[in-house]
């Protein structure tokens, strides 16, 4: 159980599912921060739609973890300690105020990785995962189209091009953590939960992302020359941005006192 025991107790299926669910959930949280602030009504709706999809995917994977491994939703989301979350630090970073380019770049870097990962889970030996992949894949293609449509237009010239470049410089090292492996990687592959190793996904991702961004005249740092962030996410290390976000999205839960429900004539009534 997250929080109660070290990661080594997780089955390869659980370990894979937690990465999946946490990535989608936390990215969706960041997307929703644009609500009513996006550049136009249309872009606001489009991003809200994408956030809703990602929440839906997180729900799909969290439900599966609950059904198959006996957790409660509260344990997985509202009461889990911040350092028990396993998402990549890419998705938790705070958006620089009003920086639409940052959100678009993050979405793009994530969505390409997401497609590769889903492809590698489509033939998972673990049927409950394989069964759910097609639904998620269907929605993800709109996300990539959305990100790329924006990137094509923002990289034309001037300030927006510079902002995209700055966002790539800032986010690229964190994006590499999407592919950071953990102690479970060998088991995940041996059990056939995922059919391709993270290192393969990473090299496919680099090929695609680098050639696309360079075609837009955006320079991409070379991975070998990129300093790795201290916080990787996959191993429970996170940035300060995450602590703040975690506190924010659990605030209402704690305010309402769901962890200590009032009982009729009880002390908290």
């Amino acid at each position: 159980m997250p929080g109660d025991s070290p990661d080594s107790d997780l089955s390869p299926e659980e370990a894979q599912l937690l990465r999946l669910a946490d990535d989608e959930f936390v990215l969706a949280e960041r997307y929703t921060e644009w609500q009513i602030y996006a550049p136009t009504v249309e872009s606001d709706l489009a991003l809200a739609n994408i956030a809703q999809d990602e929440f839906g995917h997180a729900r799909l994977w969290y439900d599966l973890i609950q059904e198959e491994f006996g957790y409660e939703e509260s344990e997985l989301v509202w009461e889990r300690a911040p350092d028990d979350f396993r998402h990549s630090t890419l998705v938790e970073l705070e958006t620089p105020e009003g920086d639409w380019a940052d959100t678009v770049v993050r979405g793009y870097l994530y969505d390409v990785a997401e497609r590769l990962r889903l492809d590698a889970l489509a033939d998972s030996s673990y049927e409950p995962i394989a069964d759910r992949v097609p639904k998620v894949q269907g929605e993800e293609s709109y996300h990539r189209e959305h990100a790329q449509s924006w990137l094509d237009r923002l990289t034309g010239s001037g300030e927006s091009h510079d902002r995209v470049q700055a966002a790539v410089n800032r986010l690229f090292p964190y994006a590499l953590t999407l592919f950071s492996d953990t102690e479970h990687e060998a088991e995940i592959l041996d059990a056939g939960v995922r059919t391709r190793p993270l290192s393969d996904l990473r090299s496919d991702w680099l090929d695609e992302v680098v050639s696309y961004l360079e075609s837009l005249d955006i320079a991409v740092p070379h991975p070998a020359d990129t300093e790795r962030p201290d916080a990787v996410g996959r191993d429970g290390t996170h940035t300060a941005d995450w602590d703040a976000l975690h506190e924010e999205f659990t605030a209402t839960y704690h305010e309402l006192g769901f962890d200590e429900p009032a009982t009729l004539r009880g002390e908290n009534a």
Partner: protein, 106 residues
């Protein structure tokens, strides 16, 4: 730039005007239209057209038809007659009904 959006529910249906979206170009307009006009309703196809490209003539400028009362053309007197006394009428009605069902009108 404003793009008018037309939605077709299923193949063969007419595209019906359903609203508009603001977008800088055709591709983005299609992308936004998918969310705003295709996400919650059954949709087979969407068209977008620049608002400026749509020409209009309205009732202030033109004499449109359909304003005179032509109720006299409708033979309402015979509507409530039980036609069962005439076999050929009943047969004909049955045929029409069957044809309508085949066409999918009913």
């Amino acid at each position: 730039m404003i793009w008018e959006v037309f939605r077709q529910e299923k193949t063969g249906d007419r595209h019906t005007h359903c609203g508009n979206v603001h977008a800088p170009d055709r591709e983005m307009a299609l992308m936004f239209a998918q969310i705003q006009h295709g996400r919650r309703m059954q949709t087979h196809s969407l068209w977008v057209a620049p608002k400026d490209e749509i020409a209009e003539v309205d009732a202030d400028e033109a004499e449109f038809g359909g304003t005179t009362d032509k109720a006299y053309r409708w033979a309402m007197t015979y509507n409530n007659i039980d036609a069962s006394f005439a076999e050929e009428v009943a047969e004909s009605e049955a045929e029409q009904e069957e044809a309508a069902q085949k066409r999918g009108d009913v």
